[in-house]
C-alpha cells in the first residue's frame, strides 16, 4: 500500500451532507474488474451533464460548471472538505479507488460512514474527522482564498491551515502505523497464522457443523 506521512495540497469544499458512495462512483463503473482508472468518473453525475458510460472517453463530455471540482480555482485538488456522514451507503471500495485515482489524498469531514472510512485506510487515503465548527471554519477559509492549501501531518496528527493554525485529529494507532509505513494488512495478519489455526481448531471442536458443510 501507498505510504501516507505528510501531505500539502489544494483544498476544495464539497458542501453537502450524506454524500453517498453511489454519488462518489455510480454503479455502471463498478462493472470493471480492475482497481484503477475510476478517476475520470469520480462524482460522475455531479460532474458531467450527461449520463456516463463505462469505457467512455470523458474528455469530450459536457461538464457541470456549478460542480466545485470543475471550477478552475480548484484544479489539482488533493484535499477534499466535506460535510457529515460522507461515504454512506454501499460498501464499494471503488469509491476510495476513484478518489485516489483522481488525486485526492485526504478527506476532511465532521463524520464518515463506517465502511467507507475503513476502506480509505486500505488504499493510502486518509479520512480525517474534525469537529463541525472546525470544518465550518475550513470551509470559510477555503472559499475565501483562491489556491488555498492545507497541510496534513499524520505523524503529529494535525491539520495545518494556511495561516499556521493547527487542528488535532484522532486516528486509530494500528491504522496510523500501517499508513505511515505503507504496510500490507494481509502480510501482518499472516504473522499470526499459528493463533488463527489454534482458534480454528477450537472452533471445529465447539461447532463442527460449521466445517466441511459447503461444497
Amino acid at each position: 500500500m501507498k505510504k501516507f506521512t505528510q501531505h500539502t495540497g489544494i483544498a476544495a469544499p464539497l458542501d453537502r451532507s450524506n454524500v453517498d458512495t453511489d454519488m462518489i462512483i455510480p454503479k455502471q463503473f463498478l462493472k470493471s474488474i480492475k482497481r484503477a482508472g475510476f478517476g475520470p468518473n469520480l462524482f460522475d453525475e455531479l460532474r458531467y451533464l450527461d449520463e456516463g458510460q463505462p469505457d467512455q472517453d470523458c474528455a469530450g463530455r459536457p461538464l457541470n460548471p456549478d460542480f466545485v471540482l470543475n471550477q478552475s480555482r480548484y484544479q489539482g485538488t488533493s484535499v477534499l472538505l466535506a460535510r457529515e456522514n460522507f461515504g454512506c451507503g454501499s460498501s464499494r471500495e471503488h469509491a476510495p479507488w476513484a478518489l485516489d485515482d483522481f488525486g485526492i489524498r485526504v478527506v476532511i469531514a465532521p463524520s464518515f460512514a463506517d465502511i467507507f472510512y475503513n476502506n480509505c485506510f486500505k488504499n493510502g487515503l486518509l479520512p480525517i474527522v474534525l469537529p463541525e465548527a472546525q470544518v465550518d471554519e475550513l470551509f470559510k477559509e477555503v472559499e475565501a482564498t483562491e489556491g488555498y492549501q492545507l497541510t496534513v501531518d499524520l505523524e503529529r496528527q494535525v491539520v495545518v491551515t494556511a495561516s499556521g493554525e493547527e487542528f488535532a485529529f484522532e486516528v486509530d494507532g494500528f491504522r496510523k502505523h500501517c499508513l505511515l509505513n505503507g504496510l500490507d494488512d494481509i502480510g501482518l495478519t499472516l504473522q499470526h497464522a499459528d493463533e488463527i489455526k489454534a482458534y480454528e481448531a477450537r472452533r471445529r471442536e465447539a461447532a463442527p457443523w460449521l466445517f466441511d458443510a459447503i461444497k
Binding site: 453525475e45 460535510r83 454512506c88 460498501s91 494481509i186 501482518l188 460449521l210
Partner: protein, 472 residues
C-alpha cells in the same frame, strides 16, 4: 459485572487476538462472494501467490449484473459486454480457486443475502461477511454480519480473519403490536426516520422488543438489511424458536446428529437481561404507519397519510437545504400530499424484499386488480431461483401476470440498475429496495421506498395509497 449483549457474545466468540492498540483479529466463519466486489480480491491473491485459507467457508453467486429476462442460453446471453466479463470472471475465479458457486442459471442462484440464509450457509452464532453493505441482513439470525470492502474480501480469503475494532451497542426496542397492513419494511423505515441515516454509525444495532418476536424471519431480515441505512454496519435480532426452526433441513444446516448440540448453542444467543447498551431507542409499534420515502436519503420518510415536508418549516439550515435539494431532484412540491405522487414504474424485489413472504403480500394486493394505465412497468423479481420456484408452485406468478406485472428471473435488478432494469430520467418508482439515493435506480430516476404491499397498491392505483384502504 454487567451481562453481555448479543453483540458482545458474538465478538468474544470470534476473537482470535486482541492487540494492545485496540485493534483485534476476528475469525470469519462465512464469506459470500459476488461478481462486483470480488474480481480485484482474487487478482490480489494471484499477484501475491496466495491461496484461500479455507475453501469451505466461502460461497459465491452472481447477482448484481445478471439479466432478469429470459436467459436460458447462459452467460453468453448477457447483452452488456462489460457485465458479461464480470460474471464470467466470477465463474473462472471460483473454478480456479475451487470455491462453490451457484452459477447464473443454477436454480439456487440469487441475491447473496437471500441465498445465504436459504441454504443454511448463514447460521446463528456465525460471523458472515460479504463485499456488500447489505450483509447486515444476516444478523436477523443472531449472526455477526457486515459488509466489507474488496481489500477485506481478499484479506478474509487469505487469512479467514478480519482486522476489526469493537463497535458500540445500540438497542432499538419496538414494543407492542403492529397494525394490520404495517410490515417489517415500515418498521425499519420508521426507525430510520427516527434515528436518522447516521444514527447508528459506529454501532451494532440489536432490534428487540415484543414486536420483534412476532415478526417472521423474512421480516427480521428486512429490518436488519436496512440497519446500514441507519448507519450501522451490523443489525441483530436475538435467537428464538422461530430462528432455530428456520434452519431445519436446509442444505448446509447442521446434520441430524449435530442438530441438538447446535440448537442448544444457538439458544444462548440473546442479550443478557442486565446487558448494558450504549444507546437505547424505544419505539411503540402502534405509532408505525405504512411508510413512503419522499427524498433522496432513507431518512427522508413519512407515513403515507402525511404531506411532503416544507423546508421553510425546518430550523436547521443544513437540513432545510437538504430538503430543498431533495424536493428539486424528486420533482415534488413542499406540502403536497404523498398520495398525490404518481408512479411511472414499480419494482418489487431486492435483498430487502424479494422473499416468498414479500411476494405473497404483493400478490394478495394485486389479485383481481390491474396495473394502472400510467404505470409503464411493474417488475416482480424474486430473490433466488428457489423463491421463484416456490412462488410458482403457489401460483403467485399467474396472479402477477394477470394483473399486468412482469415476472422475472432472480437478481438484484432495479435496486441498483447494474443490469438492464432501470428508471428513465425523471421517472417516479415505488420500490421495495433500500436506497433512494440520486441516480441509484437509473440516471435521474426518482425512487420512493415502500413495503411490498404498498408497492403493489401503488401499481394498481397508479399513485401512493394507504394499502389498508385496499385491504378492506
Amino acid at each position: 459485572m454487567a451481562g453481555k449483549t448479543l453483540y458482545d457474545k458474538l465478538w468474544d466468540d470470534h476473537l482470535v487476538r486482541q492487540n494492545e492498540d485496540g485493534s483485534a483479529l476476528i475469525y470469519i466463519d462465512r464469506q459470500i462472494l459476488h461478481e462486483v466486489t470480488s474480481p480485484q480480491a482474487f487478482e490480489g491473491l494471484r499477484l501475491a501467490g496466495r491461496k484461500p485459507w479455507r475453501i469451505d467457508a466461502n460461497l459465491a453467486t452472481p447477482d448484481h449484473n445478471v439479466p432478469t429476462t429470459e436467459r436460458s442460453a447462459g452467460v453468453d446471453q448477457i447483452a452488456d459486454p462489460v457485465s458479461r466479463i464480470q460474471v464470467k470472471t466470477l465463474d473462472s475465479n471460483c473454478d480456479e480457486f475451487g470455491i462453490t458457486e451457484f452459477k447464473m442459471n443454477d436454480q439456487r442462484q440469487g441475491i447473496v443475502h437471500v441465498v445465504g440464509p436459504e441454504q443454511g450457509m448463514t447460521l446463528p452464532g456465525t460471523t458472515v461477511v460479504c463485499g456488500d453493505s447489505h450483509t447486515s441482513t444476516h444478523g436477523a439470525f443472531g449472526a455477526l454480519a457486515h459488509g466489507i470492502g474488496t481489500s477485506e474480501v481478499e484479506h478474509v480469503l487469505a487469512t479467514q480473519c478480519l482486522i476489526a475494532k469493537k463497535m458500540k451497542n445500540m438497542l432499538v426496542r419496538v414494543d407492542g403490536e403492529l397494525g394490520a397492513g404495517v410490515t417489517a419494511k415500515d418498521v425499519v423505515l420508521h426507525i430510520i426516520g427516527v434515528i436518522g441515516t447516521a444514527g447508528g454509525t459506529g454501532h451494532a444495532i440489536e432490534f428487540g422488543g415484543t414486536a420483534m418476536r412476532s415478526i417472521s424471519m423474512e421480516g427480521r431480515m428486512t429490518i436488519c438489511n436496512m440497519a446500514i441505512e441507519a448507519g450501522a454496519r451490523v443489525g441483530l435480532v436475538a435467537v428464538d424458536d422461530t430462528t432455530i426452526e428456520y434452519f431445519r433441513g436446509r442444505p448446509f444446516s447442521p446434520s441430524e446428529e449435530q442438530w441438538d448440540a447446535a440448537a442448544a448453542a444457538w439458544k444462548q444467543l440473546v442479550s443478557d437481561d442486565d446487558a448494558q447498551f450504549d444507546t437505547v431507542v424505544e419505539i411503540k409499534a402502534e405509532d408505525i404507519q405504512p411508510q413512503v420515502t419522499w427524498g433522496t436519503s432513507p431518512e427522508m420518510v413519512a407515513p403515507v397519510s402525511a404531506l411532503v415536508p416544507n423546508p421553510d418549516a425546518e430550523n436547521d439550515a443544513v437540513k432545510a437545504d437538504g430538503i430543498r435539494r431533495a424536493l428539486q431532484y424528486m420533482g415534488l412540491q413542499a406540502d403536497q400530499k404523498i398520495t398525490d405522487i404518481k408512479l411511472d414504474r414499480v419494482f418489487i424485489g431486492s435483498c430487502t424484499n424479494s422473499r416468498i413472504e414479500d411476494l405473497r403480500a404483493a400478490a394478495e394486493v394485486v389479485k383481481g386488480r390491474k396495473v394502472a394505465d400510467n404505470v409503464k412497468q411493474a417488475l416482480v423479481v424474486p430473490g433466488s431461483g428457489l423463491v421463484k420456484t416456490q412462488a410458482e408452485a403457489e401460483g403467485l406468478d399467474k396472479i402477477f401476470i394477470e394483473a399486468g406485472l412482469e415476472w422475472r428471473e432472480p437478481g438484484c435488478s432495479m435496486c441498483l440498475a447494474m443490469n438492464p432494469d432501470k428508471l428513465g430520467q425523471g421517472e417516479h418508482c415505488a420500490s421495495t429496495s433500500n436506497r433512494n439515493f440520486e441516480g441509484r435506480q437509473g440516471f435521474g430516476g426518482r425512487t420512493h421506498l415502500v413495503s411490498p404491499a404498498m408497492a403493489a397498491a401503488a401499481a394498481v392505483t397508479g399513485h401512493f395509497v394507504d394499502v389498508r384502504e385496499l385491504m378492506q
